[in-house]
Amino acid sequence: MAPTHSLTPAMQRQRNARLRRNTFYLALLAIALVAPFVAYPVFLMKVLCFALFACAFNLLLGYAGLLSFGHAAFLATGGYITGYLLASYPGLTPELGILAGTLASLGLGLAFGALAIRRQGIYFAMVTLALAQMVFFFYIQAPFTGGEDGLHGVPRGELLGLISLADNLNMYYFVLAVFVIAFALIQRTVHSPYGQVLKAIRENEPRAVSLGYNVDAYKLVAFVISAGIAGLAGATKTVVFQLASLTDAHWHMSGEVVLMTLLGGVGSLFGPLVGAGLVVSLQTQLAQSPLGNWVSVILGAIFVICVLSFRSGIVGEIQKLVKKNFK
């Protein structure tokens, strides 16, 4: 494409930035496409699922400024509903199962959101945590989840009734596709006018109110989208691992997603991706090493360090560096 003369320098810059970003996306996608030939595909799928979960969480914290400490509930709901449907109705194809799980999380998100946005800041965090704990207890007792035993033997099935997902490679590309689509959706949301208003609310809520925005409605929509995508991550994860369990509903999981996002960089699109990748690799690598039992101590230490002196996260700090040195 030949540059047009009528572009102002600002537009030119913007255009270059977009070009750079697209090249970056394409490079990442290329890496993702060949990755399963280098690394263990199940591990990569785990990273992608958690990255999606973290992205969903980040949409809420990074762009709406709401710290939810109960996102495990959505991950688990997506997983349980999808798992239950796929295990009980053999005719159901995986993509429909995942869709159902996502919708269930969306619905739960609406209920949670409507309650939680009545309180702000720290109260919001506590309310979401308590609501999620209630969901946890519900899943312990609900007969369809298998309680403490978990829900096992979920068939991976055949995508659209055609492609067998039992094969790890097929499964991987399906998970990658789900991730890319959801990621694109998040990116569109953030850059849309709606996303701009959300940021304005985060920066100065009273001002947004005085400008006539229905702040609560904006927050609620963000909460619901975030819950839905978290559910999608959980649903996909259940198909990959063929099980859904209480681990996903436990509040430690809510804490982990906060850590992934914080470590990668709150409010940057790629932050959660990097954070999820790091945390999942750390857990997997350490589990096999003599340090295996120290995982939660190490995660805790990372938390403390991030909060004390690394609040922009890895991606955030890199962006700062780039800005400082190349401007």
Partner: protein, 407 residues
């Protein structure tokens, strides 16, 4: 009914055909090594009864076997699954995909055993469940790829409950752990009590694990039943018993019946509290010379006496290795075939044989915890009252819900 049995027949036919095809093709040791994976609760409520010391037993078995089978090395990997079926299942998947694990053993917590055995079937590897107790493991959850070695909920509770009812303990309140193990035990006890003329006055399930048993104990007290049956294990059992003592349960005339008893539990409760407990066990270190000899070797390494699980770990791994050696193959079908065709007999298992549902049946023992006066040493805790013959000790095949059994 008709429909169901025809499905089973079809399955059996498929199995026969598959075995015919397999016999010629796969008789070899895959990857030129035999990899055994030991996963268990290494740090939690069940870690005393199996856990790290169970791994020691597996290591002893491998060492005693000479560290190799038919010239191929034996490797062991192990991990803590924290009683979490999700952790266990992910670990098992990785072990089988990445680490060429041929056989997985240990598998504490019935929920874990059921989850992993399904995966093992899908990946066509082998599992030997030693620690988990639910009899549904070789009932509705049976697969051609796993066997159940030491004991199960039916074997430990059926005979014990009948004996207690016969002695006059007719009305029961049942408290069980709320997962596969507790559910299976609850069903077995209910059945035994009712069949032998007793009644169930009430029952309640508690989460696994539970810290505070007080409200459950209160409910058991309020039921007025003669017997409070405890279908919990490990530290849950210990906590339940201690709480019952705090609330004056035994003092007021109700009797506690612990059904899932390990020597480590009785050791930590102490004879003052535990004396007189009647239960069924699969093995006791002091039951004869053969058992004592192995137990003393174990004690040298661990500083304490083995539980029936730890002894069973050694037994299971040894028989697996023998099967691999004899058939020259680590294919699950060959191994299972060999184990079914040969008697299972060692310091642990007496009159043992592997049934078609994967249940290894062997003699079980009705035992009683000694009083402090009767005991002559730290680990002199049980008196074996009688032997329950192998063929009577376990749920009969005629009642089996396993697809592999032609009923």
């Amino acid at each position: 009914m008709n429909n169901k049995s025809s499905v089973f027949k079809k399955r059996a036919l498929v199995a026969v055909m598959a075995s015919l095809m397999a016999a010629s093709a796969k008789a070899e040791i895959s990857d030129d090594k035999v990899v055994i994976g030991y996963m268990d609760d290494m740090s939690g409520p069940y870690s005393d009864l199996a856990g790290p010391a169970g791994q020691t037993a597996v290591e002893m078995a491998i060492e005693d076997f000479g560290g190799e089978v038919n010239g191929k090395p034996i490797e062991l990997i192990s991990s803590d699954h924290r009683n979490d079926p999700a952790v266990a299942s992910n670990l098992a998947r990785e072990w089988m995909d990445q680490d060429a694990v041929d056989m997985i053993t240990g598998l504490n917590a019935s929920s874990v055993a059921i989850a992993v055995s399904k995966l093992v079937e899908e990946k066509n590897k082998f599992a030997m469940v030693t620690t988990a107790a639910a009899d549904s493991i070789t009932g509705e959850h049976c697969t051609p790829n796993h066997v159940h070695w030491v004991y199960d909920t039916f074997a430990v509770s059926d005979a014990a409950a009948r004996a207690i009812v016969e002695q006059g303990g007719e009305s029961w309140f049942l408290m069980s752990s709320d997962y596969a193990f507790g559910h299976a035990m609850e069903a077995a006890v209910e059945n035994a009590v009712e069949e032998s003329g007793g009644t169930i006055a009430g029952k309640i399930r508690h989460p696994f694990p539970t810290d505070d048993f007080s409200s459950y104990i209160l409910q058991a007290q309020g039921s007025g039943a003669d017997i409070i049956g405890l279908a919990s294990a490990g530290s849950d059992l210990i906590n339940a018993i201690k709480t019952a003592y705090q609330f004056g349960v035994p003092q007021s005339g109700q009797t506690l019946a612990s059904l899932m008893v390990f020597i480590t539990d009785m050791h930590s409760l102490g004879l003052d509290v535990a004396q007189g407990t009647q239960f069924v066990t699969g093995w006791y270190w002091d039951m004869d010379d053969q058992a004592r000899e192995w137990a003393e070797r174990f004690q040298e390494r661990e500083g304490r006496m083995p539980t029936m699980i730890q002894a069973g770990n050694y037994s299971a791994v040894t028989h697996y290795l023998q099967a691999v050696e004899a058939t020259g193959s680590d294919d699950p079908e060959d191994v299972r075939q060999y184990l079914m065709e040969n008697p299972i007999e060692d310091f642990f298992a007496r009159n043992g044989r592997l049934r078609e549902d994967g249940r290894m049946v062997h003699d079980m023992y009705l035992a009683e915890v000694k009083s402090p006066e009767e005991s002559t040493g730290e680990w002199d805790l049980y008196e074996i009252k009688s032997t329950i013959p192998a063929e009577e000790a376990f749920r009969p095949l005629s009642e089996s819900q396993c697809d592999l059994v032609n009923n």
